[in-house]
Amino acid sequence: MTLIPQELKRVESAHLSQLKKALSFSAERDGILDVAYRTLDTPVGLLLLAATTRGIVRVAFEAEDYGTVLEKLAELISPRILQSPSRLDDAARELDEYFAGQRKVFDLPIDFSLSKGFRLSVLEHLKHIQFGHTESYAEVAAATGRPKAVRAVGSACATNPLPVIVPCHRVLRSDGSLGGYLGGLDAKQTLLALEDAA
């Protein structure tokens, strides 16, 4: 077995981090970064935020396993994905403002590529439920023109690729109970309490 002088192999991790940052910057500049992502610390845990050049495409809770989330994005959107905080600057700032009680409406371009059909119609409607207000699954179903599709609404909410920004947390059961939430019921409660809507 041959021993290689350690100096030949030694690479400082700080140096590599620097190179990676520069790579993201160049990729963004050259228009070949299809999906950029970053993480953001919030009162509902660490969120992963991902955006295409069209807009924010994914918000994921910590419990969703970011490896899987990124692999899904690679499969469904493009594998040209890098950590690149700058594209998510506006989204991060607006989310910080929202959690600080300084913002009620998100003013961000959204990329709905991950949704289609009825689920997309549900998400489009959810965008109209205002801060501090709630609707029932049945009301959402009626609003999308399919009053009997209450379960499908529940399923659309459960698979919302953009929680917090597209407010599926503002949808409750008709009897006022919480229903479900992808980020966990604690998170749903936190968001509703923040909006004083619970």
């Binding site: 002088p5 030949l8 690679a74 890098l82």
Partner: protein, 161 residues
């Protein structure tokens, strides 16, 4: 396909080691950046079952050659050797002595050490990249490593650093 971020995670250090050995520490960052930028651009077209390591090393080799060629073109156009920090003889840093010695290895040995030992490419794949047979690559990389170890053994014998 895996997200490209995980390709950088898995191979970033390896590619850096290779770039540093092939083009030297001064230009290694440029070679690395050119390599991964080109790889990112081409990534969606990479066939599913491809050997990602071999693919990256092929790109790195092309970028390294480009860099080395443009270095010597600058020398020709200015009629003198390019100005760059000397990698030799700084007694305060044994690292720069090492890269100086790497730079003076015969090119085949340097490339074989880079792609095989540092880049993890098997002899056959390395031969495809730098020419020659797998056997000649095996000899060149062994000779290159032996030369570097001789340098190391010589330096560790009592000369204060």
């Amino acid at each position: 396909m895996k997200p490209f971020e995980s390709i950088v995670e898995d191979y970033g250090a390896s590619v850096f080691r290779v770039c540093r050995a092939v083009v030297g520490p001064v230009d290694a960052d440029d070679a690395w950046s050119e390599t991964f930028l080109a790889a990112l651009g081409a990534y969606p077209r990479l066939a599913e079952a491809s050997d990602v390591r071999a693919w990256l090393m092929t790109i790195a080799h092309r970028k390294a050659i480009d860099l080395i060629r443009s270095r010597s073109r600058r020398a020709i156009s200015f009629g003198e050797l390019p100005e760059r920090a000397s990698t030799l003889g700084n007694p305060a840093s044994s690292d720069s002595d090492l890269w100086g010695i790497v730079a003076t290895l015969p090119e085949r040995q340097r490339l074989a050490v880079a792609y095989h030992y540092l880049g993890g490419l098997p002899h056959g794949d390395t031969a495809e990249l730098i020419g020659g047979s797998a056997e000649s690559v095996r000899r060149a990389s062994a000779d290159g490593i032996a030369a570097l170890r001789r340098f190391y053994n010589a330096n560790s014998e009592g000369i204060p650093r």
